[in-house]
Symmetry: C2
Subunit: 209 residues, 2 copies
Amino acid sequence: MTDGPAGTGGARRRGRPSRTDSADGPGARERILTAARAEFAARGYEKASIRGIAKVADVDPALVHHYYGTKEQVFEAAVEMSLAPALEASEGVLEGGLDGAGERLTRFVLGVWENPVTREPLLAIVRSALNNDIAAAVFRKLVTRQLLRRIAAEPAVPDADLRAGLAAAQLVGTVMLRYVIKLEPLASAAPERIVARVAPVVQQHLTGP
Amino acid sequence: MTDGPAGTGGARRRGRPSRTDSADGPGARERILTAARAEFAARGYEKASIRGIAKVADVDPALVHHYYGTKEQVFEAAVEMSLAPALEASEGVLEGGLDGAGERLTRFVLGVWENPVTREPLLAIVRSALNNDIAAAVFRKLVTRQLLRRIAAEPAVPDADLRAGLAAAQLVGTVMLRYVIKLEPLASAAPERIVARVAPVVQQHLTGP
């Protein structure tokens, strides 16, 4: 909302965007991404605009295109930034192989959604993905590339890719009903009760008969 | 789009709304509901308006309030109208008790979503529910009242209401990833392959250990 104390160029940037490296260089690149994430989260994919993102980042719209390309590509970069902490944490989940993966995946997903800091950007992405085909394609690509491909790469399990999708469906549905629709008693149940019921089902999808 | 041949008052209604029974009576009531369903489907809960619905139905906005109350109540009536065929069909699904309910529920849900005529209004409701708290409350109330309460009413099963919610989560997540996000290979898999994998899981939620 207000300028931090660090911004020596802050006042100047509020006028016509400067073209110096200090205003449009690496700092601007990061500022654009942060602004994009905030705009997509607040407005959704369709209503957010390159112009609005540029305004929040205090740069020329052309610079947004220069660094990130089309609106779709800006969205993809913003989604990747939002998912980064979750994806980093998910490395450990899948490293252990499919034994016990049902419980590790369930705990991981609930952990990410129980925390408002990680929940909010994810919620914005999911809402955008459900409302817009381009956003859905970006979401699909990231989920497939980062998460499902590794599960589905287990050659020992037939139908591994369909199984991974249905395990994801159980987790996505649980998250939607618990955190978005707030269906009771699912919404208020202790996480451990959810884990106790969902983990075996996810495991059955991945490695069951 | 165009007036049907039946409307003797059609041309007159396009001017200032008439107050006679023939224009605002039972026909108007139904016309408003159809218009509401179309408007909510096209614009989502937040963007749809009583004024817009009244315009499509060719009535005075006051008549919309008169018949259906607040925007929230109009939405609820429109959702009930959209869900009616699905809910009617679901009676048989639950009549048979919990034995085999996993497969009957899974086949029923896939059947409703495989058919574009029943899929489109449901998709509009789900999108609205994920984007707006009031729409989410309406969705929650209807699902709980119409579907889950009957499953959860089985006294023999402990945690029946939580189990019903998690069974719904598997189905909702499967529908989201298959029909909305279009995640492969889930999106293109034959319905029978999905039933074979999802039905036992839904059954496990309802009656498993």
